[in-house]
């Protein structure tokens, strides 16, 4: 059910060109996916510079192994899954204050670790975001990851399932869960 005009989709010709060693294909892919992948990496690492390093390393490795990578799940899912794997590895080595694999399934992680926000943000947006975050604070981190990958990065259900190592059904459960939580809040606030 992928919409043909979806801007986030990666053309199959790009994959072919990449495999054939076309450097421009790598650049195209990089420019398309750099920001989404950095955003995703930052969720795990909570460090903007480390997130950028991670994604750059990933692309350097992708180029070096371009002929040998397994892309059965699609290139985009491969990239996001690689970011997650690398981020979990990094965390294993030097962010030992919590176990993210466990955290993913637990609530409150993001709330506990959230970095301070910039003071110059628009108050409106800050308030709304604060309200939203409060509303979803009790949800598992995995639910929030699924919502981000789906509604911000616009990945398909099966791509998300591949990336996070859960079932497609699991992805759907997390999405309904997120929507239901938002709906409850909207109803309560309206009273």
């Amino acid at each position: 059910m992928i919409h043909p005009s979806k801007s986030t989709a990666i053309g199959t010709d790009l994959v072919e060109r990449l495999r054939a060693g076309d450097a421009r294909a790598l650049e195209e892919l990089f420019r398309q996916q750099y920001a989404p992948l950095c955003r995703f990496a930052e969720r795990y690492l909570r460090d903007r510079a480390a997130a950028e390093d991670l994604v750059q390393d990933l692309f350097a490795a992708l180029w070096a192994r371009r002929g040998r990578i397994d892309l059965r799940g699609g290139l985009r899912a491969y990239l996001f899954a690689s970011v997650r794997n690398r981020a979990l590895n990094v965390r294993k080595h030097h962010l030992v204050e919590s176990n993210w694999e466990r955290d993913e399934a637990a609530p409150e992680v993001r709330v506990l670790h959230r970095p301070p926000r910039r003071p110059d943000e628009l108050l409106d947006e800050r308030e709304r975001n604060a309200r939203l975050r409060a509303a979803i604070a009790h949800l598992p981190e995995r639910c929030r990851l699924v919502m981000q990958l789906r509604w911000q990065e616009q990945l398909t259900h099966s791509e998300i399932a591949n990336i996070l190592g859960i079932s497609v059904k699991g992805v759907e459960i997390q999405l309904t869960r997120g929507l239901r939580t938002l709906r409850t809040r909207v109803r309560r606030d309206a009273h």
């Binding site: 650049e27 950095c38 950028e52 180029w63 919502m147 990065e153």
Partner: protein, 347 residues
């Protein structure tokens, strides 16, 4: 707000996958209750609320230039992030073919080795043509381990690069090193292995050794952990200097070669196991070493302070702890701003 509304339509809409039918159904749903629009907007805003706190745009151009610069890395180069434990305690490589050298340099010991240091052995044009085709890079805060086509294993320390030509292994095996590398060379008498480092050339016929040639050093160090070594410079008619296992040969900036017993071999190979050795070097040089290792820029305030000598060893310590230890030892203090660290005398 109807509970019976199909959540999958909202989901498809938010993910950019909605069909015209979906959009029509959604419009009707939105019109049925004002709270539905709030819900939809909240879900749409959720991505941003979840995302990073800093909305500054990513500098994709700059990031791409960094990746593009790495596209010539050897495909088999295995990058080892340094803050990850880089290397097993035993840094010896499994060797399948170990051939004892002996013909070129006649020494009694098994595993005889000749390392020949030559200055400008190749003309620049030739060197360009022959050596610059492949590149293995260890960026700052990384080490890279690579197996060359001949089976030779190389570990590159942070901030180092190794280049070689397509003709590597045809006739000779020439590599060019910037920085520091640990070499475990598979012997092949008919194809000498030569490391060109900052105008010098180290030639090997089967051994393990470290070549350290970072720009701030006033010379090139070759430390042999196994086998033996013969040093000389191209164009120099002087008798080669022999360096046995457990010795260090040093070519200083004037080209003079000295050979001395190296009682502390570990000091030279500790980096392959994730360690950092600051061995009586100036604080200024230590700052360069730490900068490469951790991918930061360390500035030392004060010329006198920068010339202070420092000796210390670290293993797996994170950068803040290393800096704290140095600060205590030297009576200094440090501050960090992103990738920039300022180290100054404490007042």
């Amino acid at each position: 707000m109807s509970d019976s509304f199909d959540w999958r339509i909202i989901d498809r809409h938010l993910a950019g996958e909605a069909s015209p039918d979906d959009e029509a159904a959604l419009a009707a749903w939105l019109a049925s209750d004002p709270r539905n629009a709030t819900l939809l907007n909240d879900a749409r805003a959720l991505g941003r609320a979840l995302g990073p706190s800093d909305d500054a745009p990513w500098d994709v151009d700059h990031a791409w230039s960094r990746v593009a610069a790495r596209m010539h890395e050897h495909p088999d180069g295995d990058i080892i992030p340094l803050r990850a434990r880089a290397f097993p305690r035993t840094a010896t490589f499994a060797r399948t073919q170990r051939i004892v050298a002996g013909a070129a340099v006649v020494l009694a010991a098994a595993g005889v080795v000749a390392v020949v240091l030559q200055r400008q052995a190749m003309r620049p044009a030739e060197s360009q043509r022959r050596l610059n085709r492949h590149e293995v890079v260890a960026a700052v805060a990384q080490q890279t381990r690579v197996t060359l086509d001949d089976g030779t294993q190389v570990v590159l320390n942070a901030g180092s690069r190794l280049r070689y030509g397509d003709d590597f292994g045809r006739g000779t095996r020439d590599v060019e090193l910037d920085g520091e590398g640990y070499f475990d060379v598979v012997h092949d008498e008919s194809r000498p292995f030569r490391v060109h480092a900052r105008g010098s050339v180290a030639q090997d016929v089967g051994t393990r050794f470290v070549v350290r040639a970072y720009p701030e050093q006033r010379g090139v160090d070759v430390v042999v952990t196994e086998g033996a070594v013969s040093l000389h410079r191209a164009g120099a008619s002087a008798t080669p200097a022999l360096v046995a296992a457990g010795q260090r040969g040093r070519v200083d900036s004037s080209g003079a070669i000295t050979v001395a017993a190296e009682l502390d071999l570990d000091r030279w190979t500790e980096w392959t196991r994730g360690g950092i050795v600051l061995d009586g070097m100036t604080l200024e040089d230590a700052a360069l070493e730490l900068g490469r290792r951790f991918g930061v820029r360390v500035e030392i305030r004060g010329d006198d302070f920068a010339r202070r000598r420092v000796s210390a060893r670290f293993h797996d310590e994170p950068l803040p702890r290393v800096l704290d230890a140095l600060a205590v030892a030297l009576g200094g203090t440090w501050t960090r701003d992103g990738q920039r660290i300022v180290f100054a005398r404490a007042d």
